[in-house]
C-alpha cells in the first residue's frame, strides 16, 4: 500500500491519498501532474513537502520497476540484450542464469530476434516493450508505468497486459490516456491541475465522466 500525506511538489498538492495493492490507473488531461506524481511515487524525485510511504517505508528509487513515457529515456545501454540484462547485473545475478532469463524474457515479448540490435535502431514500440521487459525482469513488487501503451498496436498492447498481469507485481500504478484500459483497472485516480479530482473504482469515477470524452469509448459504444 502506498500512502501520501500532505504532498507538495511544484504545483502538485495532495492532502491524503491511499493507493492500495492491486492495479491503479492514473488519468487526467495533459499537464495535470500524472507523470510528476508517478515519479514521486517511484522515489525518482523527493517531495518538497509531505511524505510518500510504501508499506510504511519512505519510497526510494531502484526498488520498483519504472517505464518512462519517453521511449529514449529508458535505455542505459546500447544493445538490447544488455538493456534487458541490466537490472539482473546490478543484482549480481550469475551470468548463466542472467543469459537464460534475458532470452526467456525476450521470447515472451517476441523480441528475441532483436537481442543483438542497438537500442537506437528499434522502433518506438519496440523500445517501450524493451523498457517494460527490463522493468519486469527483476520481478519487482511495485510497477510504475507512464503512458507506454500509446506506442503499442492492439496486439502488442494485449501482450504487454499479459506480461504485466503475470509479473507477480503486487502493486501496479499506471498513467494512461487509454480510458478503456483504465476502466479495467481496480482503481482509478483522476488528476486535474495538480489536485486529485476523483478517486475510486472505475464505475464510481467514470460514471461521473459520462458526458466527457474521457468516458471509455467501448462502454459508450457497446453498452
Amino acid at each position: 500500500m502506498i500512502e501520501i500525506r500532505d504532498l507538495g511538489y511544484r504545483s502538485l498538492r495532495i492532502g491524503h491519498l491511499v493507493i492500495p495493492d492491486g492495479t491503479t490507473a492514473l488519468i487526467g488531461t495533459n499537464g495535470s501532474g500524472k507523470t510528476t506524481l508517478l515519479r514521486l511515487l517511484a522515489g525518482l524525485a523527493p517531495p518538497d513537502t509531505g511524505s510518500i510511504t510504501v508499506d510504511g517505508t519512505r519510497a526510494v528509487p531502484g526498488c520498483a520497476g519504472f517505464v518512462d513515457e519517453y521511449p529514449d529515456r529508458n535505455a542505459l545501454f546500447s544493445r538490447l540484450a544488455d538493456e534487458l540484462a541490466a537490472p539482473l547485473r546490478f543484482r549480481r545475478t550469475p551470468c548463466e542464469e542472467l543469459d537464460q532469463r534475458v532470452r526467456e524474457a525476450a521470447v515472451t515479448a517476441g523480441l528475441d530476434d532483436l537481442l543483438e540490435r542497438t537500442m537506437d535502431t528499434l522502433s518506438g514500440g519496440e523500445k517501450v516493450m524493451a523498457a517494460l521487459l527490463s522493468a519486469l525482469i527483476s520481478s519487482p513488487e511495485t510497477l510504475f508505468l507512464d503512458e507506454f501503451d500509446s506506442h503499442l498496436d492492439y496486439d502488442s498492447l494485449v501482450l504487454a497486459e499479459d506480461l504485466i498481469s503475470s509479473s507477480g507485481a503486487r502493486t501496479v500504478v499506471r498513467c494512461t490516456q487509454n480510458m478503456d484500459l483504465a476502466a479495467q483497472y481496480g482503481r482509478v485516480i483522476v488528476l486535474h491541475q495538480g489536485r486529485v479530482f476523483r478517486a475510486g473504482s472505475p464505475e464510481e469515477v467514470f460514471s461521473a465522466l459520462e458526458e466527457t470524452c474521457c468516458y471509455p469509448f467501448s462502454r459508450r459504444a457497446f453498452r
Binding site: L122, G125, E147, D180, F217, A221, F222
Partner: protein
Amino acid sequence: MKLSLSAVEWHAGSWKFRADATFTPGVHLVSGRVGSGKTTLALLSARLLQPDAGAVAYEDITSRTLSFQYPEYHITGSTLYEEAESYGVDPFAACARAGLSGRDEEDPFRLSRGELKWFQLTCLFMNRWDLLILDEPFSALDCRGKLAVCRSIEENRGGIVLVSTHEQYILPKTDCLWEMMSGELTLRGTLPDAISTWESAPAPIRRLREQGVIPANLTRDDILEAACRMHE
C-alpha cells in the same frame, strides 16, 4: 499533387522495407504492428531517408512537413516563443491555440509530454501543407487533444495527409487505408471496403466486425453509428 514511392527498398541489417505506392490528396491512414516500418515509411516519404533502391517522387508538392513520433525531437528553441517562431507562426497565437497562454517564456522541456506534443502539432497545423506526414500524432495526447488533431486534419483537406498511428479510439475521417506488414506496405483500399481486410484494426472495429457490422468510416461517430446497428 502526388507522392510516389516507386519500387522503394531500404535495409537495416536483415530487415527490409519495401513500398510501391502512390498517395494522392486525401487522408491516408497507415497502421501496422510495432516495428513493421511505419516510421521508416514516414522518413522516406519526407525524404529524410534515402532509399537503397527505387525512388521517392513529388509532383506539384511545394510544401511538406513531417511530425516526428517524439515531440522532443522537434525542439530547437529554448522558449515556447522561440519554438513557435521556428515554425514561422505567431508565438502568442500558437500558445493560445495550444492552451498555453502566458507561458511563452517557458522552456519547452518543462512542459508535460502531452502539452509538448500538442504545442508542436499546433505550430504545424497553423500552416497549410501540400504533404503533411504525421507519425503517431495521437501519442501522449488526452482525448481533447486527439479530437483536436482530427479536426485539424480535416481543416488541412486539399493536400496529402499521411497518418501512421496505433490509436484505437479516436481516428480521423479517412480516405484510404494502408498497412505495413513486416516491412512491406500494402494498400487495403478506400473506406469502408478496406475495413473487412484490415489485419491491424483497432479494438472497436474488430468488435464490430465480429458482429458482421462495418462502419462507414473510422471516426467516433462512425463507430457509434455502427454500434447502434449492431444492437438492432
